[in-house]
Amino acid sequence: MRLKRALLGLLVVVLLGAAAFFYLVRQPALPAGQPPPPASFDATLIARGAELAMLGNCNTCHTKDNGRVYAGGRPLMTPFGAIYATNITPDVDTGIGSWSEAAFVRAMSRGVRRDGQHLYPAFPYDHFTRVSTDDLRALYAFLITREPVQAQTPANALPFPWSWRALIAGWKALYFRPGEFKADPTLSAELNRGAYLVEGLAHCGACHTPRNRLGAQQNDRYLGGGEIDGWHAPALNSSSTAPVAWTREQLFTYLRQGYVAPHGVAAGPMQAVANNLSAVAEADVKAIAAYIAAIVGRGTAGQQPNAPTPGAPAPGDQDQKSAEGATIYAGACALCHEPTGQQFSARGIELTTSKLITMPDARNLAHVILEGIKPPLASPAALMPGFGDVLTDHQVAALMVYLRRSFSQQPAWPGLEDSVRQARHSATEP
């Protein structure tokens, strides 16, 4: 196994190294300067940049827990190692204070640092390259007029060969197709706007599209479901397993409020996105919803909520587990998830419509059971306490067996207890 890995590594190095040779290995460094005075920017340009920053979720990656906004330091856990998001406040020494507009635009659209070094594609320039130069200028105007924050970004924790930035040149040669977004004249203005945002700044595909072993999006399965921070990013295309067809109205509310019945809450990594979208122009969120609905709609249109089929026959210990899960459900979940005569205090969705219970990947449901859900900004009532300290891995698995059987028609999850253990392991908040 180890040997195979090593050989593969070597192969990769050789291949990409060669490719890199033909590709421009080194881009020129651009001159360092001082941040232009805020007064030199038109206020409306800065305001537009502020919205674009929200649409691009810059704050999500470029802010560490309890850290100052945009000051970086958050590790992105890639299969290759931890890559730290940089400080994008206009601090001259530790941020982008010395970056000219040209340097910023090049980084966004070509994935190259001011000093000419290639940026790791964990920074999704394969999407940002679709963004119009005007928008990039606005974004620059916003970021460069923020409060500078002194914050050194930690060095990436990448093993060789991945630590070798020249490799990125090869990666780019293989997978990176720069170029601004081209509108499709056959689509409505709104769909084109949605497409522009989804493909570009909002970079939805970065999480929701599966990646190959070199970390490149498998665009033949575009939005077919990906991976982020130990969570499954569900498919947004026809392979979606959502038990209820998403309407564009529901998508809009979900993206805007972070919660929509009957689908539920934006939990895990998605919540930050919803929080940002609650603060941007409504029309843009509508456009994103319209575009995603146009993609996802086809697949799930017409699907019905899962009829509960309690006690459906299943092999081996499943029955016993399911019975155990049923009691846990009655005592811990039903209080909030069963309909009551008067729905007053915070209540969960009816689980027959839960998107988590039908997912191919069990980890998201495990995460929610273990960690609970903290409410999105715009939907304070959409919260759930975590049961990580209440339930053992075995009990969580038992509960999940019961839920999967009773509230979906999907086959039992394989290796459930492992998924639970993984989820508990990668849990961010206790």
Binding site: V69, G341, Q342
Partner: protein, 741 residues
């Protein structure tokens, strides 16, 4: 046990008479306030209950002290015990202490308005001192020794020749069954053993070890558990309910229905909870829109028909010339008490009497209201105060007592425990009223305020049970009791206009209270009443004026403040805070505020420092420094605890809290739809500095920090971001909007 001995019922009668007076003085015209003062001017609550043995009894089995006040979590029991022990010349541990109980204690109306020290401590102090003198006189007579030569220690009187006798031996049957005198021989401050020294709270050990401490913990033998099913909204009408299935549920003993009033009783608590849910499902309600549009609530406040009271109008100076005039309008939403433990009560109907264990603030007024609701004579009803979760004013306690009483009458003999659910507490407790204030003032050339004009629009701030009509469950009965039209609480204490009159000296001052009787949302007393909003407004506006005058906010306040004790707390807070004009780091701000609660009670000044995150408008509290003068301090740690708590609670109101509703329902139903401050959002430090005034009257402290804290935060935010936010709460969204990009 409803049978009471003659002396007690005599006192009880006297009590209920006074109860009438007190509830009148709280709710009705000034006329009856005059009535309240009719009896001779005895100190504190002795005015209402002048017999010494109403307050303490001494016999062979020891010393018992009585107070009509209730422990609400404010630590009053400990402070009163200190006062009693001090004047009696005994150790606190020698005293058995009895709090509010209509069968045992004097009538002191409500435990509210930070009055307990002024009322009860004063009464107990004088009664104890007079009792001590009577006992000494008895000893002097028995031994034929001059009283001056006798010494008292730990409840024993000793003569120079060594003869000694305990209080128990000296006390005679009705020695204390005498009227109190206006004057008492009080212990000299320099001779204090207990007053002014911290005494550990007597109730805390039980609370940290899980001993029964709350009405929620009562378990009389045979007790059963009840839950009510409330209407989904104020105006909802019960169309139909089929309770047959519920009655068949395991453990269910009874479904009680009286008009709209729905309840279920079961053997075990969880059975009652499940039955309640089932009964809610089985009930059909017709709802109608009865609430104002929440988006336009402040327009509603301004447009609602209001009665105008000019509560202050002093013109003794020239109108400003050559100066500038500023005007500002401030808004405060409905806010709720939200005790951590929802309301609870236990009631038992026996023979023709009823006993109710309640955490309400006034056992006598509650007794009168329950008696009216149940058509019983008051002496058939006994109300016993037992602690509940923290009480910050008129919450659901009295209503829960009414629930328990109604259900207990339907289940004679069984003690019935009613526990409200969280959503019931949130939706049905009376809120603190939404308010609008407008301030206008002129500065003369020298930066002195010459004309001050202030208006406050507000609902009532007390709809306490004077009668059954103020018990919410009574509204839902088949023959309902209507809620009486509220009346404003008259100055000098005031309700919506509490602290509306500035303590500052201005040449011309005019203050108008616009009282709105119509109450679409149920409102009543919430800690500080109108003072929270009025002090927020006054002290924010003083800051705006200081800025306009280019003056330091603290110096500007002192410039207009003549009251020496006020000046002292302002100066102490500023000094301890390290107040300076020095520039703080970007995004940081400091703010100052002061008030004398009710213009009658404690003087409190608060200085705050905080940090605002430019990108999000999030406020991070850094530190609070408070200075307080509560007159003579009985228990310094108790006072500190009250101020610290007031600061944190007010910070929560000010940064987070607003009751959400739509045109039909209250939608703040739990802690997710009504978020409050959590540990992660606390300041780094809260420091409280006390000024003791030995020999001065006690001044209530319980509510004095609410207003100054709010204004100090608002002023600090303005200092940090250079923009003023005049609408509470100061949410990140509002702050960010004020900051701009």
């Amino acid at each position: 046990m409803t049978a009471v001995n003659p002396t007690l019922s005599r006192r009880a009668l006297l009590g209920s008479g006074a109860a009438l007076v007190v509830s009148f003085s709280l709710l009705r015209s000034p006329v009856s306030t005059v009535l309240a003062q009719a009896p001779p001017r005895l100190p504190g609550s002795l005015r209402r209950s002048p017999k010494l043995d109403a307050w303490l009894r001494v016999d062979a089995n020891g010393i018992t002290v009585f107070t009509g006040k209730a422990e609400l979590g404010q630590g009053i029991k400990t402070a009163l015990l200190q006062v009693a022990a001090e004047e009696l010349g005994v150790e606190p541990s020698q005293i058995e202490f009895i709090t509010a109980d209509t069968a045992k204690t004097p009538n002191e109306g409500y435990t509210s308005g930070s009055q307990s020290m002024q009322d009860s401590a004063t009464a107990i102090r004088h009664a104890a001192a007079q009792a001590r003198e009577l006992l000494i006189a008895a000893a002097a007579q028995r031994w034929g020794v001059p009283a001056e030569q006798l010494t008292v220690k730990a409840g024993t009187i000793t003569a120079p020749d060594g003869r000694s006798a305990s209080y128990g031996e000296l006390a005679s049957a009705d020695m204390l069954n005498v009227e109190a005198q206006p004057q008492s021989k009080l212990t000299e401050p320099r001779a204090y053993r207990l007053i002014g020294k911290p005494l550990a709270r007597v109730d805390i050990p039980a609370k940290v070890t899980g001993a029964p401490a709350y009405v929620q913990d009562l378990r009389p033998p045979g007790m059963v558990h009840a839950r009510v099913v409330r209407p989904p909204s104020y105006a909802a009408r019960l169309r139909s309910v089929d309770s047959s299935a519920v009655e068949a549920m395991p453990g269910v003993l009874k479904v009680v229905r009286d008009g709209q009033f729905l309840a279920v009783v079961a053997d075990r608590e969880y059975q009652a909870v499940q039955a309640m849910t089932a009964l809610a499902k089985a009930s059909v309600w017709d709802e109608t829109k009865s609430l104002p549009d929440p988006a336009g609530i402040y327009d509603w406040v301004l447009k609602a028909s209001a009665k105008e009271y000019v509560i202050h109008d002093a013109r003794n100076g020239e109108a400003a010339t050559g100066g500038r005039t500023l005007e500002a309008v401030y808004h405060r939403p409905y806010q709720l008490h939200g005790s951590i433990g929802p309301s609870c009560a236990v009631a038992q109907a026996e023979g023709d009497g009823l006993t109710v264990w309640t955490h309400g603030q006034g056992v006598y007024p509650l007794r009168a209201a329950l008696a009216e609701m149940l058509h019983l004579s008051p002496d058939k009803v006994r109300c016993v105060h037992v602690e509940g979760s923290g009480c910050y004013g008129h919450n659901g306690a009295d209503d829960a007592a009414a629930d328990a009483a109604l259900i207990a009458m339907a289940l004679p003999g069984r003690p019935v425990r009613v526990q409200w659910m969280r959503d019931q507490e949130h939706a049905w407790e009376p809120f603190g009223a939404a308010m609008v204030t407008r301030a206008r003032a002129s500065l003369d050339g020298s930066g002195t305020v010459t004309d001050w004009h202030y208006e406050v629009w507000s609902n009532a701030h007390s709809t306490r049970p004077g009668g059954a009509g103020n018990l919410m469950p009574a509204w839902h009965l088949a023959t309902p009791f209507a809620q009486p039209a509220p009346e404003p609480i008259p100055q000098p204490t005031g309700g919506g206009d509490r602290n509306a009159i500035p303590l500052y000296q201005f040449a011309n001052t005019r203050v108008v209270h616009r009282f709105i009787a119509d109450m679409p949302l149920r409102v009543s007393a919430l800690r500080g009443l109108g003072a929270y909003m009025n002090v927020f407004s006054l002290e924010s506006f003083m800051d705006e004026l200081a800025r306009a005058a280019g003056a330091d906010p603290v110096e500007f306040r002192l410039r207009h403040l003549k009251d020496e004790r006020a000046r002292a707390v302002v100066q102490l807070a500023a000094e301890k805070f390290g107040w300076s004009a020095g520039r703080l780091a970007k995004g940081r701000g400091r703010g100052f505020a002061f008030a004398k609660y009710k213009n009658l009670a404690a003087y409190t000044a608060v200085a705050a420092e905080l940090e605002v995150e430019h990108e999000t408008g999030k406020i991070r509290l850094l530190r609070f420094v408070a200075a307080d003068d509560s007159g003579e301090i009985v228990n310094p740690d108790g006072v500190r605890n009250q101020i610290e708590g007031g600061i944190i609670q007010s910070a929560s109101w000010t940064l987070r809290e607003a009751v959400a509703f739509d045109e039909t329902r209250i939608t703040s139903r739990d802690w997710s739809t009504y978020p409050i401050l959590r540990f992660a959002e606390l300041p780094d430090h809260v420091d409280v500095h006390l000024i003791d005034r030995p020999g001065q009257p006690f001044l209530g402290t319980g509510e004095s920090a609410q207003g100054p804290t709010a204004a100090a935060i608002g002023n600090a935010v303005a200092d940090a971001v250079g923009a003023r936010i005049r609408e509470l709460p100061l949410t990140p969204r509002r702050v960010k909007a004020a900051i701009g990009i």
